[in-house]
Structure formats: structure tokens, C-alpha cells
Symmetry: C2
Subunit: 230 residues, 2 copies
């Protein structure tokens, strides 16, 4: 029974100081799993502003340069975190349920996971799937579901990409401030916009981001669903 590598034995101890002398330790102190876990904890505690290689190294009780034996850049760490988070996205419906509900569950959970991690979105959006095995597994589950639902092969990837684009954009929208549409002193000059915003604000039950996401998702479901043949 040994602790997994990368998880410090005593993360609390203040002013721990140098824990070990230079030179290769008997057992490796770090590993990609431990780095990923520590990064996720650090981001949860300090946000992405506080997520620096120095801070990450401190929680792991190593020198910052030690991280570079296991990752080649800070971006690499973000890729590890991104792939780990993707395993929390719900794809269960694609095996068991009808297509519409499967997409709904997938899309809402996908948005909710990454709305707390929007700095990862630029990373995910351009990341080759080869570099992210759990993300690739998600695409396999979703693709299989679209195939079973009767989508023509050549439309499956475009349909998934369209949904994902909507999901990523919507994840940002969750983080928008409540007064984002307050036209302030320009209200008189923008009557149509200002009155539409007022009408939206009258709805106090639902969060504006959820109303927009639901509206867009249901429209996409209806429009994309029409492509099915089976």
C-alpha cells in the first residue's frame, strides 16, 4: 500500500522547505496522474489565475523544473486536465435511450462540466483526439449513438461538431455577469434591444443562460433530427 505518485504525503505542512536533496530519488515522486489530480485540486482552490507551474509544483512539494520531466509544457498539463474532465460527461444515454434524450443529457452535462473550466475551451477546440484518450472514447460513444439513430455516415461528424460548438459557446455564456445586457446610458438609443432585455429580465425563475441553452439545443435537436433515416 503506497500512495500514488504525484500525491504529496503531507500537502498541508506549511513552509515545508526543501524536502529532499538534489539527485534522482529512490522512487519517482511525480507521475502524470498525480500531476493531473493536483492540477484539478489547485484550479478548484485558486482558479485559473492561480494555476501556475510554480504553484502546481508547490502543492506537489517539488521544484517547478521537476514537472518538465513528465510534461513538456503548461499546455500539456491543461490537456491532461481537459481529458480527465471529459470522463465526467454523460454519454450513457447513447447506449440505452432514445437519441433526443441521449443528446440532451450529453449536451447539458458537457456544458456544465466546462462552464467551470472555460480556459480549457481554446485547448479542447483545436486538440487532436490522439492526444486525449478519454475524449476519443466520448466521441466513439456519441458517434455510435448517432449511427444507431439513423444518421447518414457523412453527417455524423458535422452534426457532433455543430452541437459541440454550441456547447462550448454556451459554456462561456454561463459565466457572463448578470448585467451583461444592461445598456446603461445608451438605453434610449437602443430601444428594440433594451425592451427585449427588459422582457427577459421579467423572467426571474430561470437563469438567462439556461433559457438560451435550452432554446438553442431544442432547435438543434429538431433540425438535426430531420437528417435521420431510420
Amino acid at each position: 500500500m503506497t500512495a500514488p505518485t504525484g500525491v504529496p504525503a503531507d500537502p498541508q505542512s506549511p513552509d515545508a522547505g526543501p524536502r529532499r536533496r538534489a539527485g534522482r530519488p529512490a522512487a519517482a515522486v511525480l507521475g502524470q496522474d498525480g500531476i493531473t489530480t493536483a492540477a484539478l485540486q489547485l484550479i478548484g482552490r485558486s482558479g485559473y489565475d492561480g494555476f501556475t507551474m510554480a504553484a502546481l509544483a508547490r502543492t506537489l512539494n517539488v521544484a517547478p523544473s521537476a514537472l518538465y520531466n513528465h510534461v513538456s509544457s503548461k499546455r500539456d498539463v491543461l490537456v491532461l486536465v481537459q481529458d480527465h474532465l471529459t470522463s465526467f460527461v454523460d454519454v450513457a444515454g447513447f447506449e440505452t435511450g432514445p437519441w433526443e434524450q441521449a443528446v440532451r443529457d450529453w449536451a447539458w452535462s458537457y456544458r456544465d462540466v466546462f462552464s467551470k473550466h472555460t480556459p480549457l475551451i481554446p485547448v479542447i477546440a483545436v486538440l487532436p483526439v490522439t492526444d486525449a484518450p478519454k475524449t476519443l472514447a466520448m466521441y466513439e460513444a456519441v458517434s455510435a449513438g448517432f449511427g444507431r439513430a439513423g444518421f447518414p455516415q457523412e453527417r455524423i461528424i458535422p452534426a457532433i461538431v455543430a452541437l459541440e460548438s454550441f456547447i462550448f459557446g454556451s459554456a462561456y455564456d454561463v459565466t457572463a455577469p448578470a448585467d451583461i445586457f444592461d445598456s446603461g446610458s445608451m438605453a434610449a438609443a437602443t430601444p428594440h434591444f433594451t425592451s427585449a432585455v427588459r422582457r427577459l429580465a421579467e423572467n426571474v425563475d430561470e437563469k438567462p443562460a439556461d433559457v438560451a441553452f435550452s432554446l438553442g439545443l431544442e432547435a438543434l435537436l429538431a433540425g438535426l433530427g430531420a437528417l435521420r433515416s431510420a
Copy 2:
């Protein structure tokens, strides 16, 4: 006839050295318009990686600290650039044409403008409209068009937000590498995904990002259009 402030008289001169001594100059050297223009030029030439306050100051032939007399942060500069770019988004159709075509023109031009400026998307997505007058003007034009097209008042903002979320996500997709969906050594383990990707790759006429954007946009147009009453 004097040059607008913020535009250096001789931007080419190499090793210009200190151009003026300390102390307030007779006429202001900088201004928000000149800073915005210079920032846009710099981003075009060096990309967002090369866009630093020091580099911006150098193109304007001032010390970096001089910028802070006109903007309060680098983020402020990005807001100025974002608002300027928004004036290139096509909203003309909302005054003259049918709703579907107006949204199409708007959405494609909006995506195209920001696909070259994806680092601005996190800024736009959470920026209060009060801070961006041209962006506010765009929303007014779009809101008016949705109202004339027969949308119920309380659905106008959610519909616009849903479309914008899709547009922002799609702007990232434009920048994705061509081999983003190459499953590599995992191809055998992901048969559904891999075969769907192969089918997509057979289409060499259209860019994958354009296929996905068109598919999603048309689905949204069909789904959202059903909300209209007039």
C-alpha cells in the same frame, strides 16, 4: 492636416531610440483610436502571441507605461479591438431582407471575423455591452430585425444568445488542425467514430468547419424560425 494621434509619423525607422524627453508633450501623442489601430496592425503582423504591451508601445514609439494614461489594462485594449472588429459584422440584411437570409449573412460574417481573433472570444462572451458601443449597435440592429420578423419579445435575447454561442464555438472550429479527428493508433478501438471520420474526409470540396457550421446554422434557423408568429 495633422496625423491622428496614436499613429506614429515614422513607424519604420529602426532603432529610433528615445524620441522625446520626459515630461508632457505639447500635443498628446496617444489616443484610444490610435491605440486600437496600432493594436489591430500588430495582431495582424505578429498574432496574439506577439501582442504585448511592450510591442504595442514600440509601434507607437512610446514607453510602455505611457499606454496606461489611456487604457487601464491590456484587457482594455482587447475590448477596444473587439468593439472595432464588431463593426465589420454584416447586419444590413436585418433592415432590408427576409429574416432567414439576414441571420445567415450575419452569422457567417460574425464567425469569419472572429475566427481570426479567437483570443477575443473569452473577452466578448462576458463583456457588458455598456463597455462596447459598436457591439451594442449590432445588438440593436439584430433585435430590431427579430422583432420585425415576428419573434415574441421574451424570446429575442435568448435566440440571439443561442446563435452567438454557436457562432463563437464555430469560430474556434475554423482554427482546428486538419488532422484533429485522426484517431491514430486507437482507430481499431473506435470503429464507429473512425468510419464516420473517413466518410467526412471523402468530401474534399468543402472545408469540414464550413460543413458543420452550415448544418448547425440551418438547423437553428429552422428550429428558431418556428417561434415566429407574424
